[in-house]
């Protein structure tokens, strides 16, 4: 295992001691000591999220407010999506881009009555806040919210669970938010998530005692539905099945928006200029990117993992796996990988090098898993 700081030097979320009490296996992630799984294990937690309800502590992520009447117009210059037109309490996925059209981070933006509420990745939050300050601090106040916790309640039973606590939340449409009182605490929540299931992300102004109370209350409400605590291990297998990008894997500053299959978030025709607009326009004018992210199903025996080479059937290296693991729901092994555009048609056969052996794989549609429409 790679060297990591001793547990005492790592950052902790407000719920850290609760995870340890629950018997979680703790691992370092983005400088935090985080639960990778609880005693049930990754597979059981993953299944429970798809079939019932799962509760995640993702308080390590960054929550930031942008305050001021010019905040939306200012943020629009940093992301390729429209922000000015986002309705109150509506939420949108966005990307911080760089001049080359590469991706500095992905984030969720929610418009509130008097500010914009951003959620960014834990590993990027320091850089993101610096980026915001360096670019738009003259147009709006950039206010990090380090005292806030974040719980994600995900699964087909999530609405029923949340209905027991704050019925207003179960009325929300997807990617919309509302304030709610849980365990006597005024929280904000959005109907959103990173698992491909229905669910809610709950933002809690919080210390250890407060966030533990909210967790316990959600857990108690979820008990009859079979709620399980769920760690980063299952969080990864769930988002991978849903082909959602993970920063540092499918998206990074050397990967452009089109390569990452995120062209639908690139509004080149929006009025405002934004970082990377001309680079992305150039890529589009040239007929698109030269390589693209595809989904692979591993056809022969073997598990493709992050960083493994992707080759042609005769062994020429053409790309790399960005994320790979068993798909717990589909009972097959899947991966996301970058390959040249010539190899992106469905059913194209390639190979993944697994411990020096070529293992056959084929290009399949993504997401690998889609929840059934009700």
């Amino acid at each position: 295992m790679a060297d990591s700081p001793p547990a005492a030097a790592m950052l902790k979320t407000p719920l850290h001691s609760l995870h340890v009490e629950l018997g979680a296996k703790m691992v370092p992630f983005a400088g935090y000591d985080m639960p990778v799984s609880y005693p049930a294990g990754i597979m059981a937690e993953h299944r429970q999220c798809r079939e019932a309800a799962a509760l995640f502590d993702v308080s390590h992520m960054g929550q930031v407010r942008l305050v001021g009447s010019d905040a939306a117009a200012a943020l629009e210059t940093l992301v390729p999506v429209d922000v000015v037109g986002l309705g109150v309490d509506k939420q949108r996925y966005a990307l911080f881009t760089n001049d080359a059209g590469g991706i500095l981070d992905d984030l969720m933006v929610t418009r509130r009555a008097d500010h914009l509420f951003l959620v960014v990745n834990a590993g990027c939050k320091v850089a993101d806040i610096a980026h915001l300050r360096a670019t738009i601090a003259s147009r709006c106040r950039v206010e990090p919210m380090p005292d806030h916790a974040l719980l994600a309640l995900q699964g087909p039973a999530a609405a029923a669970v949340v209905g027991r606590l704050a019925p207003v939340l179960s009325q929300l449409t997807f990617m919309t938010g509302a304030e709610a009182r849980i365990a006597g605490i005024d929280c904000f929540a959005t109907r959103s998530g990173y698992t491909g299931e229905d669910g809610f992300e709950i933002y809690i102004p919080s210390d250890e005692a407060t966030s533990a109370r909210v967790w316990q209350e959600i857990f108690a409400a979820g008990e009859e539905f079979g709620i399980l605590p769920c760690g980063l291990g299952a969080r990864n297998t769930l988002r991978l099945e849903s082909a959602m990008a993970l920063y540092g894997h499918e998206i990074s500053d050397t990967i452009n928006v089109f390569e990452a299959n995120l062209g639908r978030y690139c509004k080149l025709d929006k009025e405002s200029d934004f970082v990377g607009k001309s680079a992305l326009q150039t890529i589009q004018n040239a007929g698109g990117p030269k390589r693209k992210l595809v989904g692979l199903e591993i056809v022969e025996r073997g598990i493709a993992r992050d960083g493994y080479p992707v080759t042609t059937l005769d062994g020429t290296v053409i790309g790399e796996v960005t994320s790979g693991s068993p798909s717990v729901t589909l009972k097959k092994n899947v991966a996301l990988a970058y390959v040249p555009v010539e190899y992106t048609s469905l059913d194209t056969e390639v190979a993944v090098t697994i411990r020096n052996q070529p293992v056959k794989a084929k290009v399949v549609p993504t997401p690998f898993y889609k929840r059934a429409k009700k």
Binding site: G41, I42, T237, I303, S325, P326
Partner: protein
Amino acid sequence: MAYPATYKYTKEHEWIEVDGTTGTIGITDYAQSSLGDIVFVELPKVGDKLTAHETFGSVESVKAVSDLYSPVAGSVTEINSALNDAPETINTDANGTWLVKVTLANPADLDSLLDSAAYTKYVEEETGH
């Protein structure tokens, strides 16, 4: 955690049960517990020659690949191919789930392995378990 007294152990968490010159090899309860759900096992072929303390295959959990280290030198006589379809039996019964059987090339290899008490102590010291 249970570590049968009739087995011998490596510091890499494999066990071996010896009967004459036949050694039966598996991984310990501590190993399966650390790995979590086992989803894939890669074993050598019958006839392969194993070298003591060198890798002879791997066991994979959802998150990670873990190499298997042979406790002894020997040649593989049987492999547990049921593990292709049901690798999780290692989780439910690590002590009772064998991976490979070998004919020992050098019975003296066993002398450098840990007995059950020494292995138990080793695990406690290493890990606080």
